[in-house]
Amino acid sequence: MWNLRYAGQNLPVCPGESVLDTLLSAQHEIPNSCRVGVCQSCLMQLVHGRVGETAQQGLKDSWRAQGLFLACRCYPEADLEVRAPATGALRIPSRVTAHTRLNHQVVAIRLRPEEAFGYYPGQHVTLWRDELLGRCYSLASVPALDGEELELHVKHLVGGALSPWLCDKLGVGDRIQLLGPGGDCFYTAGDTGRPLLLAGIGTGLAPLYGILRDALCQGHTGEIHLYHGALDLSGLYLHDELNRLASRHANLHYYPCILNEPPARAEQVQQADLMTLLEQKYPDLRGWKIHLCGDPAFVNKQRKACYLAGARLPDIHADAFVPG
């Protein structure tokens, strides 16, 4: 059993336990959210010892160089000493510049970071209510179109830890801390001629909206097929905007898809289960670049289906959302 030194204590690490598990079971308050290496909430800093490659996967080079790592993805293989990083130096204060209701559940929040912030549309950031409570949201904005303002789509989740506060309490002019960006779900310039399949459920549309506009901005020439799945018509919260974009770009096809309600109002809306629909319509995905975002059950099953339909694993970017 290895020894984990933290805050002047020596903690035994039980086999199969992550650094996060060990610290939490010793009653230390460590920020954490997704516990699968996505949200970067549980960043820790190495003092002595070493951590495995996976514990630093996806972190900025400058963070890796400082010994920062993700406690949830760190399974000690030797004694370690770690400390909480100076979060002030990592989190970026931002000002809310717009707070717009997109439908009965989803709010678009626009933020202006108070220092230089580079990102790719579709990556995610973690928003912090206080020292400990943070949740991850994807970036729907595009630097070339939206300038320094970031846009996030937040779904009000009843009983959620952060989203009710973000939707109902946060207002224009308020300050909020953010951390990031992270993730590899974004458009890459080398792919301009390839067919793109973008599929998201609910606010899984946010990163896809960023990726989509980024691709169009960069002169994407291949086909772009965008699927937005929702429970009912009101869930298609960017319906008009996406129709408008599709009417201006011949290679963009927008396929809204709802589960519950017969598509009476809008003829183009299909009533179907998105997963079943995609499997029927795309039996051969060789050569496609694919982005899947939203509900983990959808994303994880769909990723496998896309792989079995011939897409290469590195061409499938899956972003499974953690409820919050």
């Binding site: 994880n300 990723r303 496998k304 792989y307 079995l308 290469r312 694993l313």
Partner: protein, 121 residues
């Protein structure tokens, strides 16, 4: 004699084989529940390690690793029938890649040699 790994074309050939093999494994109801890992990249990396080994390429697996790495699957019911299925899927993968029967037998032999470790016997 050069190893099957070298004759097939080294790492690039293993990547091509992983692409076929992993799809077969995921589509096969006899064994796919053991490979149903949300982290598909990690799972594909394990397939690559396995195929590199059975091709006689540079690999870092010991019998102990095989034992440790499959213990949780044995607890979930992994048995000889599943090892048989994997060796069969390995064979059909290599067949698709145009590998000669005698080379397939060599690869299957290496896979066979770790059967007891995989099954914790």
């Amino acid at each position: 004699m050069s190893s099957l790994y070298e004759r097939l074309g080294g790492e690039a050939a293993v990547d091509a084989a992983v692409d076929i093999f992993y799809r077969k494994v995921l589509s096969d109801d006899r064994v796919n529940r053991f490979f149903d890992d949300v982290d598909m990249e990690r799972q594909a990396a394990k397939q690559k390690g396995f195929l590199t080994m059975v091709f006689g390429g540079p690999n870092n697996y010991s019998g102990k690793d095989m034992r440790e790495g499959h213990k949780h699957l044995v607890a979930r019911g992994l048995d000889d029938s599943h090892v048989d299925a994997i060796i069969e899927l390995l064979g059909s993968t290599l067949k698709e890649l145009g590998v000669a029967d005698e080379d397939i037998a060599v690869a299957a032999g290496i896979a066979e040699s770790v059967r007891d470790d995989v099954l914790s016997r």
